[in-house]
């Protein structure tokens, strides 16, 4: 390539004046004055910044390549960024990357816009008398901190809600959870609550870990791909590369969905289901399997507990009953069951269509049971491939940014707190003293401190503000809300959220963009906007859906005055006076806690889900050798990472010195634990009602115990006579500990040396006896149009205290809304946008492709309501929310069902909120949020919100 020198004068002005900041300033000015109403101004913006970019790109300065990972969905596509003079000038495909092989979807192919997007929140701001004012970081932290400390004084630490983010990297997520613990509250949560919390709960309680069991790449080996309640063609487009490769190798694709989605367009069989009738359908399939003897007897006998009770429930779901409840004909159900039986191994893929229901946890368990019946678990090409949502929602979940656990799924028990206090090297009593010292709940008759009780969930934070303080199981209502990397428009009950935001004493938004939180309320004062940097402006690790941990390099310096999340956490910790405790073993340079030190710290504590072997060094080595990984097996073939799986998918056991390769496929007993094999986890005891919960006649290859066994403890090592395999130092640490709490890693090392899994070898359980529905049973949605089924399949009773709040079920279902609101309303994703969409709607390359919020409605329903394609309509819900959107008349949805995407925001009940954004930050595309109309309803185990079934009516606007 020949570089052409341009006019020397031009180069001179470049070199003297144009650094990254002036570059951005330049484009900001170009855009600032332009009202975005016609095509003209954007063209000008593009001209202005493109002209400047080009001069950079071809004049001077070395072009360096940085490797990062796309910040949108959980596939974890590699990004190659070309950077010159600190400016992100080009994006090249990452061909070496084993997940995406260079591919991207619309979002991934446009991430470079991050590097010069001018819709960003540029500096800290504060709303005073209805006007946005620019303030300094110091002032912001001071003022917010003072108010929070005052609230803490008067209402207790639980009155401040720390809502974290799946957009954090692992280190930030871990630090954030630790920070909340030091603040003294469990009122901390993130997006996982409203995306896959029911999966995590349901799946972990079935066989041990609540995560995708195989990988996107492993779908190449599937013979049948069963996709239910998921639309990966739009939500995880690059996963379709793997799904279609599987299909081209002969796999049958079955898609079950209320809509004929873009994924369904590639299916061999499409089954249309009534929203909320998943369990009847799955039981209907299993009914045919039991009927025809298609179950895997040997697998069930060796590795599954409780299948008899499932048989009893499934027997009720005769083809007629399935058709009556789910609306699916016997032939279709039979065909799907037969295909899955004849094409093994088959994999099951699900997403929000399964999880976001009042019965979400039961839905996920029913699908696990389907795979257990077929014996599809622990095999390549099989498994439950649960596609997570955000790029690091898996990691943020693993690191416990949730109101019901500490990092690593240790829970909130005293043991858990003691374990982490040891890892953090801080006094347990000091942490305890940070919490509210009064008890509001009882456990087995004795009071428990709020330290040990589940906090309020993100799905319900609005109730934490609006509920009568008498009914809340903590000292007071929420008075301060911190939305840190979280879109409010992804949560239901919009009008109530608006009221909650207005009732708060203090509202703090930490985000690269102002987000809908900044504009959806009518607050005049005390709203703070703090600009956070994106993940391209910092570095660290993230965990993709398949549990692979990847390392990102920093592409560009934080834009404008934004700061990386961990810097902001540290600043707050300084303000609250526990910065030294927070970073006791983490170096802090110029206000920035050292990412690698944070990784090393969690490596010392995350034994329970195997985050101990993924050191920064190993992850960086993999990043430098991406091309050595096989794109189907994810295993490195030769090179310095030979034998390792890509991303050292957790569990990656023991210390890094053990060189565990990570676990590509969970519960695969055909290979030794040391090479990534594992049995089902012994998590639920060893015996119940006289029945053995441990595996029988099944063990991982090379195991010295050739049968089931419980989880490893120091005592167990002694009984087995393996205690002396520990070194003297390991013995000192391991005494009285178990595989999760032994910080030396010795117990794990010795167990694996003898071919055993540290967590035991048990059966998966088909019944979860601690859950409201031990056997998954069908319950009609709260807002059901099928009143005829309510008596037979009622929802739960109302509950007094559920994650600190009263929770309604039957009292809502008792009311009949189906006459006035005859249409079933469901929601989902579009390929161009992600989450609440603020970031993607601010990206002109994406925004141009989807300029209008819309509702999909069947031609028959449209004609009945006198609605024309492309015209505006009002969508009204039973709780009073209404949105004005464009009608998209299409047979994609069937009669009686309407669909809306959830990425839009910036309009509220017919009004454009553009003027409420700080100047120059309103996204290019704004629209109504469908969640203004979506209604009450929460999962009975995790308080997941119900967004997939509600009722509405539609009329012309």
């Amino acid at each position: 390539m020949k570089l052409i020198k341009r006019d020397p004068a031009a180069i001179k002005t470049q070199a003297s004046g144009l650094n990254r900041r002036t570059f951005l300033k330049g484009s900001g000015i170009a855009a600032g004055g332009a009202a975005f109403m016609s095509l003209l101004p954007t063209a000008m913006i593009n001209k202005a910044d493109a002209a400047q970019r080009r001069q950079h790109s071809y004049d001077e300065g070395e072009i360096t390549k940085k490797r990062s990972v796309c910040t949108h969905c959980s596939v974890g596509c590699g990004v190659v960024a070309e950077v010159q003079n600190g400016v992100w000038i080009g994006q090249e495909p990452s061909f070496d990357h084993p997940f995406n092989l260079g591919s991207h979807c619309a979002k991934g192919a446009s991430v470079r816009e991050h590097g010069h997007g001018d819709k960003r929140l540029k500096y800290p701001m504060k709303k005073v008398a209805g006007e946005w004012q620019r303030i300094s970081w110091d002032q912001a932290i001071d003022e917010i901190g003072d108010q929070m400390l005052a609230i803490r004084e008067s209402a207790g630490p639980d009155s401040v809600y720390w809502l974290g983010s799946a957009k954090f990297n692992n280190e930030q997520a871990y630090l954030f959870r630790k920070f909340a613990a030091f603040w003294g509250s469990n009122n901390v949560d993130h997006q996982a609550r409203i995306c896959h919390s029911t999966t995590v709960a349901g799946v972990a309680n079935t066989w041990g870990f609540g995560a995708m069991t195989n990988s996107y790449n492993d779908i190449h080996n599937s013979k049948c791909i069963f996709i239910i309640g998921a639309n990966p063609a739009e939500a995880h487009p690059v996963s379709l590369q793997h799904i279609l490769r599987g299909k081209e190798r002969g796999a049958k694709v079955i898609v079950v969905d209320p809509r004929f989605s873009r994924t369904a367009a590639h299916a061999d069989q499409f089954i249309r289901i009534r929203p909320g009738a998943d369990i009847p359908f799955v039981w209907g399939m299993i009914w045919h399997m039991f009927q025809n003897g298609w179950e895997d007897e040997q697998f069930i006998n060796q590795r599954v507990y409780g299948m008899d009770e499932i048989r009893a429930e499934v027997a009720k779901w005769t083809p007629d009953e399935v058709e009556r409840v789910a609306g699916i004909k016997e032939a279709d159900v039979f065909q799907a069951a037969k295909t899955m039986y004849e094409h093994k191994p088959g994999t099951v893929v699900w997403c929000m269509g399964i999880t976001q229901h009042t019965v979400g946890n039961s839905n996920t368990r029913a699908l696990c049971i389907l795979q257990l019946v077929l014996g599809n678990m622990g095999v390549s090409g099989g498994g439950t491939n649960i596609f997570r949502g955000h790029d690091n929602v898996q990691g943020a979940t693993d690191f416990g940014v949730v109101s019901n656990s500490l990092p690593g799924y240790y829970g909130l028990s005293q043991d858990a707190w003691e374990h982490w206090a040891r890892v953090w090297d801080v006094d347990y009593n000091w942490i305890a003293s940070q919490f509210d010292q009064t008890s509001y709940e009882e456990l087995n008759g004795s009071p428990v401190s709020p330290m040990f009780t589940n906090g309020i969930t993100v799905s319900r934070w609005i109730d934490g503000v609006l509920e009568d303080p008498e009914n809340i199981t903590q000292k007071d209502i929420l008075r301060a809300m911190v939305l840190w990397g979280h879109a409010p428009n992804s949560q239901t009950r919009g009008p109530e959220m608006k009221a909650a935001m207005e009732k708060l004493d203090l509202l703090v938004i930490v985000d690269p963009f102002p987000t809908v939180s900044a504009v959806m309320n009518d607050r005049q004062d005390n709203v703070y906007l703090l600009p956070a940097a994106t993940q391209f402006e910092t570095y660290g690790s993230l965990t993709s859906s398949n549990r692979s941990v990847q390392w990102r390099e920093q592409v560009i310096a934080p834009l404008f005055e934004s700061l990386p999340d961990h810097n902001i956490i540290y600043r707050f910790a300084q303000k609250f006076g526990f910065a030294d405790e927070l970073c006791k073993h983490i170096a802090v340079n110029d206000g920035e806690p050292l990412i690698e030190d944070i990784t090393r710290e969690y490596n010392r504590g995350m034994w329970a889900c195997g985050y101990t072997g993924q050191t920064p060094e190993r992850l960086k080595l993999q990043l430098a050798n991406l091309h050595t990984f096989n794109t189907t097996t994810l295993k490195a073939e030769g090179g310095p990472c030979d034998g390792e799986f890509y991303g050292l998918p957790w569990p990656c056991w023991g210390t890094a010195e053990m060189k565990h390769p990570g676990t590509h496929i969970l519960y695969d007993t055909s290979i030794p634990v040391a090479e990534g094999g594992s049995p089902f986890r012994a998590r639920f005891g060893v015996e119940r009602d006289g029945q053995n919960l441990l595996a029988e006649g099944s063990w991982t290859a090379g195991s010295e115990i050739e049968d089931g066994y419980p989880e490893f403890t120091s005592d167990m090592l002694k009984e087995l006579g393996w205690w002396n395999d520990l070194t003297a130092e390991e013995k000192a640490e391991a005494e009285g500990k178990n595989w999760k709490t032994d910080l030396s890693g010795g117990i794990q090392r010795v167990a694996i040396k003898h071919g055993c899994a540290p967590y035991g070898n048990a059966k998966a359980r088909a019944i979860v006896w601690q859950f409201p529905d031990p056997v998954p049973i069908h319950r009609e949605p709260l807002y059901t149009p099928r009143r005829d089924l309510v008596a037979e399949y009622p929802t739960y009773e109302d509950r007094r205290n559920f994650y600190r709040l009263p929770t309604r079920y039957s009292s809502i279902q008792a009311q009949d809304f189906s006459e006035e609101f005859p249409l079933i309303m469901t929601s989902g994703r579009l390929v161009e946008y992600e989450g609440g969409g603020e970031e993607t709607r601010s990206n002109p390359w994406l925004a141009e492709l989807q300029q209008d919020m819309f509702i999909e409605i069947n031609p028959a329903d449209a004609n009945n309501a006198r609605i024309r394609h492309g015209r505006q309509v009002w969508v009204e819900g039973p709780e009073g929310g209404a949105v004005k959107v464009m009608a998209f008349v299409t047979p994609r949805v069937e009669r009686g069902v309407v669909f809306m995407p959830f990425h839009f925001g910036g309009h509220y009940q017919g009004e454009d909120l553009k003027d409420k954004y700080p100047e120059g930050t309103a996204p290019y595309v704004r629209g109504e949020s469908c969640n203004v109309v979506f209604t009450y309803g929460y999962d009975s185990v995790t308080a997941m919100q119900e967004t997939k079934v509600s009722l509405c009516r539609v009329r012309p606007a």
Binding site: T42, M44, N46, P93, A109, S110, P891
Partner: protein, 194 residues
Amino acid sequence: MARMKFLCDAERCIECNACVTACKNEHEVPWGINRRRVVTIDDGIPGEKSISVACMHCTDAPCQAVCPVDCFYTTDDGVVLHDKDICIGCGYCFYACPFGAPQYPQEGAFGARGKMDKCTFCAGGPESDNSQAELDKYGRNRLAEGKLPLCAEMCSTKALLAGDGDIVADLFRNRVVRRGGRPDTWGWNTAYKD
């Protein structure tokens, strides 16, 4: 001699629009101008198929035949390009093109005075390779850097293929054989009955 061609495998295209934004990203194409777009037929019903369409770089290019000022030329490797300095933006090529490829920006880097803009197969135009002038008028020249069009290189499912027609065909044939069926490209149904 190589002859550059696009091929969109309709069995793999999922209408994700990566090709569209990759093009925007690489060439900074302004809002409202789409050198490439994804077309979906039978949207929302069984049989739904999508393909990504841009300039097809015809061997006997109609745009070239009708251009009143003869601003079109074909490169050695079969890429149809045009000289924006002599293009008068009349729109006759728009009439002639079977694919609706020519675009007419009102403003901005590509479209001063309404000159025609279209997909360049990431091969720039009649200016020195990767010069400022080429970049301003035509966008990046990836071919000169030994790279292929970014839309195809970034395609989410590797549905969109770009390169020498012969090797594109080889790759596609392999896929068809693996699938064990007849080609299911979009044009097949146009050419033959079931």
